[in-house]
Symmetry: C2
Subunit: 295 residues, 2 copies
């Protein structure tokens, strides 16, 4: 099976490495030369273009940053045309469900297969090949790439047969993640504002019905003034933007998501887009106490 991998960034480079480790013949491309070099160093067959990577491949994995980039790779760059006539496109990037449906239709119109397969688990999951993968595709098409997905994740869910359904589940996942981070910041900043030690609050809430995965993971970093970046503010500006786009597609109101998005957006707008996403708490600090570090 000849595989092609486009998008060798923070997630993609780790996923590509796991595919190479699992014995797949892998050709890869990224618009960023340093990413291509890193891929080559890990034993990948680097190419000079997306179309060259896709040439005659059985499956084309897309781990690009947006639906627009996926569209450019497939159509403008000619990767889809280069793919084997019965090849399968596997879109693993987080994209709005409507855009995924559109891409799927255009791919399927050429006779090729399409698998909507976004992931969750972050760089840690990509590194350890323990990603959750939310697959929406016809069973026969899914079966053809199942061994590929098994090399990337250990929780593979077949959520539906229509492309866009996987993207929807991922959208709902990001909706909860983003709101959970923002509300943890809202609560911790409020405790600080009224003179209660946020460390004590965190200890109590982490063991109560107020707990969330994000509270336990991001909460400790909210107390640090400038923590190491695990995932950046701008990732949630993008992902909650996709959540709201998905709501707009079907005209569904998502009031908590919209409020959380504003807090990430303002944080990025002040120049903190590259900071750790726990630092959305800076916006609460400024909003309610006039200083970035709640105290």
């Amino acid at each position: 099976m000849q595989l092609s991998f486009i998008g060798l960034g923070a997630m993609g480079s780790l996923m590509a490495r796991n595919l190479i480790g699992a014995g797949f013949a892998l050709r890869g491309y990224d618009a960023w030369p340093a990413a291509v070099q890193r891929f080559r160093d890990k034993g990948g067959q680097a190419t000079a273009s997306a179309a060259e990577a896709a040439q005659g491949a059985d499956a084309l994995i897309l781990m690009v940053v947006s639906a627009a980039q996926a569209e450019e790779v497939l159509f403008a760059s000619g990767a889809l045309e280069a793919l084997a006539p019965d090849g399968v496109v596997v879109l693993m990037a987080t994209c709005p469900p409507g855009a995924v449906r559109d891409l799927a239709q255009r791919v399927q119109a050429t006779g090729r297969g399409f698998v909507d397969a976004p992931v969750s688990g972050g760089t840690a999951g990509a590194d350890a090949a323990t990603l959750s993968i939310m697959v929406a595709a016809e069973a026969a098409v899914f079966d053809r790439v199942r061994p590929v997905l098994r090399a990337l994740g250990n929780k593979i869910f077949h959520v539906g047969t229509e492309p866009g359904q996987g993207a929807t589940v991922k959208v709902v996942n990001q909706l909860l993640c983003g709101v959970h981070i923002a509300v943890a910041a809202e609560g911790m900043a409020f405790a600080s504002r009224v003179g209660v030690d946020p460390q004590v609050v965190l200890e109590i809430l982490g063991g109560s019905s107020a707990s969330s995965w994000m509270l336990k993971d991001r909460g400790p970093r909210m107390i640090q003034p400038d923590p190491e970046v695990s995932s950046a503010i701008d990732i949630f500006v993008k992902d909650l933007g996709i959540v709201l786009d998905a709501g707009r597609e079907v005209k569904a109101a998502l009031p908590l998501s919209a409020a959380a998005y504003q807090m990430f957006l303002a944080t990025s707008g002040r120049g903190d887009g590259a900071a750790d996403d726990s630092q959305v708490i800076r916006s609460y600090g400024l909003l309610n106490a006039g200083r970035a570090a709640p105290a």
Copy 2:
């Protein structure tokens, strides 16, 4: 040690039973005759008034529904005056921090002690004596009632020396709980709206970074049309109301809490205040699909 217990409702009756079981001499009162009878049936010494229950007691435990009721019991009903001159008032109800500070000052002005000691853990925790108790009081005053609290909970945190600080931690706890329930509904209803099985979404999210204690507990009940009532919508109308009151006291903006409150408020406003709090999802169903049950 002579104890007095005022407020024998869903939580209070279970807590009172545990105090009796631990061997405390307990006099109790509630304005609702059926609650008094239940207390008597469990071996409590029922009285005809709050003041009679408090007469000469070393500690007066208040598990009433609001700060206004605590004030009425203590001052209008004469319970504080009836308490031993060196007695301690233990306020365990969820109240706004500012109201707790005011009550504490008025109690302390009579020479008596005040312990701010709200709880979390719900009726299950009250039943099993596994409540979390967030204590704010001077150490010497706290020490006098420590054996009482140990009979009610197994996670007792001394969060500060100033009454109101315990209430603040409880406020932050309820802030997260309420938003977590509402956002779980927002995500689950959205998945239904766009044709993805909410049961599948729940399974995936419960094992991902999108998980929360509330998602796992309330999520399954969101899929049921009319689940058994574990905790009512109106409890969160009250508790998120207290969260927003606490924010108003110090003029702190709490945008996610405010949005979540609106969803609980609308649910109650349609007559579903006594429904299980998972049924806040009905408001999302009506808002986005025009029907109470998302499908």
